[in-house]
């Protein structure tokens, strides 16, 4: 149990870090679903869970972008929170991550992207107050304090994303204790749902790529992958 709480805290710390990186500092894409989810999975000892959820969520959110003042869904929270919950759940079952668990988490935590956007919107209000205060300070000649207001915009993000990821991991821990009550037939259905959702995510990604003749390029990619798989199978035989 002690380990579980350490994992919950780690989930919060990683979630806060990538949440900050997405919004306030660097933007070197540690916050992208593929990296954020893989990192979360690695930290919580469920790498495969992180990888597969990261892969699907990366495709799902591939075409979204923060253009101008528009706020897209928060893909980082969606990835870190969903993976934290799935990893904790997988940990509880003792059998590691399965497509059924991944599906269940994708369904249960589907609203995280929207929640993240709402949170971002609220935090912008705080940053606007900092900007006004900065202007007042500059007016009074307190320039260093005015300039430092910029850094004060960071901490609320860290705190909020830490709490949200801790909540997701905690929920995963809780749900994980009940997972063995789920009938086998439902788990089989959930296992089938995962590649189906992944296929939809890939279609959304191809569409979201904004490429001219995206369908043709998508087909070409599919054909190349099929050829590579056939060659690999032939070589292995």
């Amino acid at each position: 149990m002690h380990d579980a709480w350490v994992h919950v805290a780690l989930a919060g710390a990683w979630g806060a870090l990538v949440g900050l990186e997405r919004r306030a500092f660097l933007q070197a894409m540690f916050s992208r679903p593929l990296v954020a989810a893989t990192g979360m999975g690695l930290l919580l000892g469920q790498l495969q869970t992180g990888l597969y959820l990261g892969m699907v969520l990366e495709l799902f959110y591939l075409g979204t972008a923060s253009l101008g003042a528009a706020l897209p869904e928060n893909d980082t929270l969606a990835a870190s929170g969903t993976t934290a919950a799935a990893a904790m759940m997988a940990d509880q079952t003792g059998g590691g991550g399965t497509p059924a668990i991944w599906s269940l988490c994708l369904i249960l935590f589907a609203g995280l992207g929207l929640l993240g956007r709402a949170v971002d919107r609220r935090l912008e209000g705080h940053a606007a107050a900092l900007s006004t205060h900065g202007l007042e300070l500059a007016e009074h000649g307190e320039l260093e304090s005015a300039v430092r207001q910029n850094l004060l915009g960071i901490w609320p993000y860290a705190l909020v994303y830490f709490s949200l990821n801790v909540a997701c991991a905690g929920l995963g821990l809780l749900i994980g204790t009940y997972i063995h009550h789920v009938p086998l037939v439902v788990l089989r259905g959930l296992a089938w749902a995962f590649p189906a959702m992944a296929s939809v995510a890939a279609a959304i990604a191809a569409r979201g790529s904004h490429a001219r003749n995206a369908a043709a390029w998508g087909l070409l990619g599919g054909a190349l992958m099929t050829t590579a798989a056939l060659i690999l199978a032939w070589v292995n035989e």
Binding site: A24, Q27, A28, M29, R32, L34, G39, L42, L47, E58, L59, F60, L62, G63, A65, S66, L67, A69, G125, A127, A128, T132, G134, L135, A138, L143, A146, V147, Q149, N150, G153, I154, V186, A191, W192, F194, P195, A196, M197, A198, S199, V200, A202, A203, I204, A206, R207, G208, S209, R212, A214, A215, W217, G218, L219, G221, G222, M225, T226, A229
Partner: protein, 255 residues
């Protein structure tokens, strides 16, 4: 990295560049990146304006509305230093730097959004997602390396261009032909998405095995193709995903 063309010490220019990585720290709907810009410029303004009153004026000049793409902003930050040096030396009117920012932030934002957000990121993201089956966790590392080699190289080059060229940086940026490179990257993104979909369908089909496995693989590919058409008709993605999960879930449970 940060070369000649200005009289500011290199350490100051480096500090400005590093602080520009925090440009979005207090992004807000009112002034947008105004606080971030002043935070980045402040070490240079301290050197250029020893007189507190002049420094206050300079800070206030940059606390007005400012918004552009966070990476391409490096060019404007460099260009602002170029102009501020001349303003501090009495060679230019302070209005020049405000006009410079006003004229460039919109076009550079469009350029940055088009290249980084809508081309490079989707291309590298989809490519590395498609490579997950072969590379495992290294796919995430490869994503960071590929993306950031381009990101940081361009960011540093743009800052240097701004510092050295001032207003003439527009011609230099145009020569980089980012829009045409972006179009090629978008094709990579679409192809990689197709490859990832195919892999997932076959991998999970093989895991299932038997007739059910073929049904799962074929069904997933058909679902992908159908989803592509429905997304084009603006069917909400959440609805599509939920329907796909429900359909596959029922089939999986029934079989």
């Amino acid at each position: 990295m940060i070369g000649p063309g200005t009289h500011l010490p290199t350490s100051v220019k480096l500090r400005v560049f590093l602080r520009s990585l925090l440009l979005q720290a207090s992004w807000n709907p009112k002034g947008m990146q105004n606080l971030g810009l002043v935070y980045a410029l402040y070490p240079a303004l301290e050197v250029l304006y020893p007189d507190p009153e002049k420094r206050r004026e300079a800070v206030q000049r940059h606390l007005t509305f400012f918004n552009t793409h966070p990476y391409v902003a490096a060019a404007i930050v460099g260009g602002v230093l170029y102009h501020e040096e001349r303003i501090a030396a009495g060679e230019e009117d302070p209005r020049r730097v405000t006009e410079f920012k006003g004229a460039l932030m919109g076009p550079l934002a469009a350029l940055g959004d088009g290249f980084f957000w809508l081309s490079l990121r989707p291309a590298v993201g989809a490519l590395c997602a498609a490579l997950v089956p072969w590379l495992g966790a290294w796919a995430a590392v490869l994503f960071l390396v590929l993306y950031n080699v381009v990101h940081f190289t361009l960011r540093a080059r743009l800052f240097r261009m701004g510092l050295q060229l001032g207003d003439r940086l527009v011609e230099a940026v145009a020569r980089a032909r980012l829009p045409s490179r972006g179009a090629r990257l978008r094709a990579v993104a679409a192809a990689s998405a197709g490859a990832a979909a195919t892999y997932l369908a076959f991998a999970f089909g093989a895991q299932q095995g038997g007739v059910g496995g073929w049904l799962l693989a074929g069904g997933c590919l058909a679902l992908g193709a159908l989803s592509y058409l429905l997304v084009a008709r603006r069917v909400p993605t959440a609805v599509l995903t939920a329907m796909a999960a429900l359909l596959a879930g029922c089939l999986g449970a029934w079989l």
